[in-house]
């Protein structure tokens, strides 16, 4: 019988070995996948037991302004922490929210709270050394702080201007030289503190209510909604014309009929109020100053659909992979072959769509001597011991135009505000401000048979001689870009530059 017993001993040993191997697999190799299981109650619980890092608007650093904490964790009963947003609505498109559904639902977090969650929660691998130190010193785990490029001055001005307008709108301001986003406001906004309670039922109810709200307060219009660019697209058409060599500089003349028969169709295109454009063959500078439709539609046809498509892409259109680090909806300029459609698209109509961020990037590129900088929100990440974990490295997305062409465009855009015939003379020119703003207005027709109110668009940078800020504003149903959008941009510029 002993032989059988020895064999059974081996079988028993094998059983224990299999158990041990399986447990090793479970507690070593499956740790991450099990932690990531939606509904893992321990991970769920854990995330509210640690103090999440702060989100700080640090864009006024070195400009005589203070850093502003826009999201922090406060202890509540039971040893848990709850998120608090001191200026909720103003910064909601930036911070997003952090809810009890953070790990279980793709919409459980948004904004920077989602994009930088690893750092805020302290789980990023680069924080491992710091966490290990905390393990031995017994300090409670704390997340890293995220310092943003957002300027509190510009952001506050942007949100109050949008709110005063009271229409769905968004504004984005960029530092043209490095791509740092100085302001990103969206209206109507929401109060992210509503998502903070550690109560799944309450938060679920609030989320449902906000999601079914027809004014879409959760939508970040600055980067996740797109609008027709209207006449501001003429800047891109001009860039394409410069690049093609068919137009040399701002003093070159272009044909500008009073009525332009769209090629291959029976549709006639007019300027605003059917007015003629100068003498019918104005300089391109004058055509842009008064924003002639016929001149740029014809120019678009001359340059061609593929050249326009290439130039739009160079400015950042049709890029679905841009993150700031929030994912940005791609602005659309479709490749076209029909000449009538090309002509329409050249003045920002037809199927052109852009985000307010893209709008700001157009001005920023021209301001930065023709080079587009990658827009970004996060300047720096600091571990709880104030050691820097990560610092932003500005990078270029490409150069759609040469510095010389950018200079020509700048001079043209100055005329828009400085020339008394310019479309933004009254709202962004000498009557309104002493700052030299280079801008371009847009008034985009909208809806079936243009039945909706026009969207007001404005893109600009200032000061024109030494650009420090580029702004893009879109007001849905705002009417004329000069009337609705330009004053908002002006307020942001004034606040940021500290001049009237």
């Amino acid at each position: 019988m002993n032989r059988a017993i020895r064999r059974l001993s081996i079988a028993g040993l094998a059983m224990f070995l299999v158990l041990m191997i399986n447990i090793n697999y479970l507690q070593v190799f499956r740790v991450n996948s099990l932690a990531a299981e939606p509904g893992n109650i321990r991970i769920f619980d854990q995330q509210f037991k640690n103090s999440r890092g702060e989100i700080i608007a640090a864009g006024d650093q070195g400009r005589g302004g203070q850093d502003l904490v826009i999201a922090k964790s406060r202890p509540v009963k039971g040893g848990y922490f709850q998120r608090f947003y001191p200026l909720g609505r103003v910064y909601a498109p930036v911070t997003g929210y952090d809810s009890v559904f953070g790990t279980s639902s793709p919409n459980g977090r948004t904004g920077i709270e989602k994009a930088e969650n690893k750092f805020l929660a302290g789980t990023a691998p680069s924080l491992a050394v710091y966490n290990l130190k905390g393990l031995f010193t017994g300090k409670p785990k704390q997340g890293a702080s995220v310092y943003l490029t957002i300027s509190p001055k510009a952001q506050r001005a942007a949100y109050s201007a949008l709110a005063a307008m009271g229409k769905p709108a968004a504004a984005v301001a960029i530092n043209p030289s490095n791509g740092a986003i100085l302001a990103m406001a969206s209206y109507p906004s929401f109060n992210p503190n509503l998502y903070s309670p550690l109560d799944t039922r309450l938060v679920g109810k609030i989320d449902k209510r906000l999601r079914s709200n027809p004014s879409q307060p959760l939508l970040n219009r600055a980067i996740n909604d797109s609008f027709p660019p209207g006449s501001t697209f003429k800047l891109i058409t001009t860039s394409a014309a410069f690049k093609s060599g068919k137009v040399i500089n701002q003093n070159s003349t272009i044909p500008a009929p009073t009525a332009y028969l769209l090629p291959g169709s029976h549709t006639r295109l007019y300027n605003d109020n059917g007015a003629p454009c100068g003498n019918g063959r104005p300089t391109i500078e004058f055509a842009l100053t008064v924003s002639c439709n016929t001149a740029f539609a014809k120019l678009g046809d001359t340059v061609g659909g593929s050249a326009l498509h290439r130039m739009a892409n160079a400015y950042g259109f049709n890029n679905p992979n841009l993150t700031i680090p929030l994912p940005v909806t791609a602005s659309a300029y479709p490749p076209l072959t029909d000449p009538a459609q090309i002509a329409q698209s050249a003045i920002g109509q037809f199927n052109d769509l852009e985000t307010p961020l893209q709008e700001a990037m157009i001005a920023a590129t021209i301001a930065n001597h023709g080079t587009t900088m990658r827009p970004y929100l996060v300047q720096q990440i600091k571990a709880p011991d104030q050691s820097t974990v990560q610092t932003a490295q500005p990078s270029s997305l490409g150069s759609p135009i040469t510095p010389g062409q950018a200079r020509s465009l700048t001079l043209m855009m100055e005329q828009v505000t400085q020339n008394s015939a310019g479309t933004a003379y009254l709202t962004a020119g000498p009557p309104a401000t002493g700052i030299l703003i280079a801008g371009k207005t847009g008034t985009a027709q909208n809806g079936v048979n243009n039945s909706h109110l026009d969207d007001a668009v404005f893109t600009c940078f200032a000061p024109a001689g030494n650009p420090q800020i580029a702004v893009g504003v879109i007001v849905q149903g705002g009417g004329f870009g000069a009337d609705a959008a330009a004053p908002i941009a002006l307020k942001i510029i004034q606040a940021y530059l500290g001049q009237r």
Partner: protein, 481 residues
Amino acid sequence: MSAVEMAAFPQRGPSHRAVPLPRGRRSTELAMLCFAVAIMAFAFAASGLGLNGHVPAGLVTYVGGFSVLMAVAHLAVRRFAPWADPLMLPLAALLNGLGIMMIYRLQESGRNGNPGLVVPTLIAHAALYQLVWTALGIAGFVVILAVIKEPRILQRYTYTLGTIGLFLLALPALLPSSISAVPGTAAKIQVAVGGFSFQPEEFGKLALAVFFAGYLVAKRDVLSLAGRRFLGVDLPRARDLGPILVLWGISMLVLVFESDIGTSALFFGLFVVMLYIATQRKSWLMMGFLLFVSGSLLAAAIIPHVHERFAIWLDPFKPSYIYGSSLQLVHGLEGMAFGGVLGTGLGAGQPYQTPLVQSDFIFTGFGEELGLTGLMALLLIYGLLVQRGLRASLAVRDPFAKLLAAGLAFVLALQVFIIVGGVTQLIPLTGITTPFLSQGGSSLVGSWLVIALLIRISDTARRPAPQPIQDEGLTQVVRAG
């Protein structure tokens, strides 16, 4: 080997040489026992410190009470089984002590101002009850050692114990669900009367092990006769297949009426393994295995409860299961993953999140708080206990005791495999207890009885042969006159 062989070659028995006859080693046992109690005491202190930063007030009561019980057990071994294996008692004591510690830690969670949630299925004095059950277990342990001086005494009661065993096994199935169903599960495995419940299978298992050993020792020559050859395997004769088929039928009935795969696997495994040891014929093992697998698959196809166990084993994270039938398994797995390699530390994890963590899932509770490291240690303790049992089986000469020890030791391994494999998603989960660790009186008392029998058998195995008064060779013939 038979008695005839023994007489023919008195000096050359292989079991003589394989296991050198040792001293009693009771002092070693005492030292190891003190070590086990010390580990329990440290674990108790650690769990309190992890829970609320204080050494728990219950430490003196529980560790003190447990020490007294273990001292009694040790003295009983000294008195009644002085040659017994010195490791079995300390190993069992360590497991039992850690079990009480974990139940105390779980009962304190969310109570008395401690953080965490209250385990709803655990009463506020669960650890005290567990200590009382330990006392009952030790009482049974002492009684067995005192009454059964020789393992073969049991052989006389082969059929009596067989009848009792079958009765105990079938009892919950015969009783109405109001008495036998475990609340919250479909399993009917207990007898609950007036707040007091016990699971007869824990004792039935023991009685049946004795019956199998007695029966097989008597019949093994017949059972090992070769019948037909099929696919290169010698099948037993058809008429000898009777007992295994009967046992298979019974275990399947248990499965059907008590909805308990774990228990039926345990019973059937016990019988098949003992049959194999008795006859040394692998064909029995293969047949038993095939019969059990086919029976289980059949049950999975027919019985919804069993089918569900298979389904959640294959995909516990399926959204339609996760908040229902697989919740416990999922929480157990996530708890173990949460613990990782080193664990959260005793008192610092969230084992209370797993439903019934104090009984079926106590292993995951240890996994969460002591980590992979702690689980490996626990499995090694179980492995050592099994190994000591098998060693006693190898060393003992009496075939009945040999068979009984091997069966008991292997069934301990099987039980650990079934429950630990179940909670770690290695095999379908079946609700059986984790020996010595789980909350539950019958299981604890039953486990102590198993240890008592193994200690008795190891004592028999290691006891030096009585010294002859005179050497036969020197016998002088005295002539009268």
